[in-house]
Amino acid sequence: MTNTSPTAASKLRGVQLVQRRELRALFESAVAPVFLIAGLVLLNSLYMNEFFLTARLDMTPLFDALAPLAGVLFPAITMRMWAEERRQRTFELWMTLPLTPWQVVLGKFGSALTLAALFLVGTLPIVVMLTQLGDPDLGRIFASYVGALCLASMLLAAGLFLSSLCRDQITAYLLAVLVAALFLATGHPRVVAVIDGMSPDAGIGRGLARYFSSLPQYESFVRGRIELGALVHFLGWTAVFLTANASAVKRHRP
């Protein structure tokens, strides 16, 4: 007779199997190569342009450019992860394998986060270049990478959840870009000024920037600070989106 209560080790093994399968699927489709090549060329070009103009041993311009780019690029990783399963009817295959919705969600999320981490690894030659040229602030650079990973985690969890609500990957992508824009743009000074300008006494723009937006939280990492509040913001939203995703998968039936 089969064991009815899987151990923590077997649950983790299930997550790893899903993660490996999904990561392989990302590389076997065009998603991962296009994402890595296009994203890195774009990000590194933006940075190198800034570097040659300012001649400063500082990676802040790269991480400043990463935030808006992440809002457009990261949803491309997750857009098909559930939407395609529904379109190709492989959702039923997942749901008849001995895996919990949480195992499948975490496996898919893990593969997306691994690809985002590989993307960040692709920027490490710049760190090597800066250390060869002088003495950059490595602590600040490290904090920026932690922030970038936190931002990726939240955006990927949101994209994965939105993909679980859609049958079409383009719709999933557009929704994820919209959500990313909401999280990031609400912290931009110009957007805050526009919102506050519509109703100066209410202070809605400032309120959104302070309590909702991810941009100020991300910028605190880029300025070299790893703050508990910022970590809680990103990890909290990641947990919210993953929980919503597991719940959506559990509830989805024809």
């Binding site: 039923e92 749901m95 008849t96 394998l97």
Partner: protein
């Protein structure tokens, strides 16, 4: 008496206002090959989907290999091999990787996984396509890949939804022989809307119409009844379907 591997009692499933399955009860013992017959839309796939734990029932009890399908879905999924209606597979994966993945999530590792993979590959004749992507395989091969994945963990219960769909006549014959070979110790429930196909292989017939079971008897008994009434098996089954339609 041998405990059944599949036990269904008063099973009901609604899709909104539509009653797709209405108070269905049956049991399948080890060694039985039950042909699940019914016209399109009669409720066959809905029953199989509930047995596989994919669809929750609106009411009723389902047990597979002693596990309650609603309360212990993971234990049920460990105990079943499923070939779903559309046989959707992970198209981008290579066949070998797909089988290893399915074996892996069923807890198979190392030598045991290799042994089981070799067995299913040999029995479903997949050796020539192992390195191909699933998407590159013909419909017949896809059906065999689905069957191989359903069998890789050696489950005591097989739920096969239209398993011969897409197979050529020679493959259908080979499939029948294979299923007969698999039957000892296993409960096999397979759906079809073709009586001749079911009659070739099943030990028992279960006919569903309008979400209700209208015929449930061993095949031998039905053949005797048909001979006694001077009709063929097809007419006997059609009569029961028509009566069920009339009653509805």
């Amino acid at each position: 008496m041998i405990a059944p591997l599949i036990r269904v009692e008063s099973l009901t499933r609604r899709y909104g206002d539509q009653l797709a399955v209405n108070g269905v009860s049956f049991a399948v013992a080890p060694g039985e090959i039950v042909g699940f017959l019914g016209p399109n839309g009669a409720g066959k796939s809905t029953v199989l989907r509930m047995l596989s734990s994919y669809l929750p029932p609106t009411a009723g009890t389902l047990e597979v290999a002693g596990h309650d399908v609603v309360r212990e879905p993971l234990a049920v999924r460990q105990s079943i091999g499923c070939l779903t209606e559309h046989n959707a597979l992970f198209d981008g994966m290579r066949v070998a990787a797909f089988l290893d993945f399915v074996g892996g999530v069923h807890g198979l590792t190392g030598a045991r996984l290799a042994e089981r993979r070799e067995w299913v590959v040999q029995r479903t004749e997949l050796a020539s396509v192992l390195k191909k992507r699933v998407a590159e395989c013909s419909k017949g091969f896809r059906q065999r890949i689905g069957l191989a994945a359903a069998l890789i963990h050696d489950p005591p219960v097989l739920l096969l939804d239209e398993p011969t769909h897409g197979l050529d006549p020679l493959q259908v014959v080979a499939f029948r022989d294979f299923v007969r070979e698999l039957a000892p110790g296993r409960a096999i429930l397979f759906s079809s809307h073709i009586l001749a196909e079911v009659a070739e292989i099943a030990t028992r017939l279960l006919v569903i119409q309008g979400g209700r079971i209208c015929l449930d008897a061993p095949l031998g008994e039905l053949e005797q009844r048909a001979t006694r009434d001077g009709i063929n098996l097809e007419s006997l089954v059609l009569d029961s379907v028509r009566k069920a339609e009339g009653a509805a």
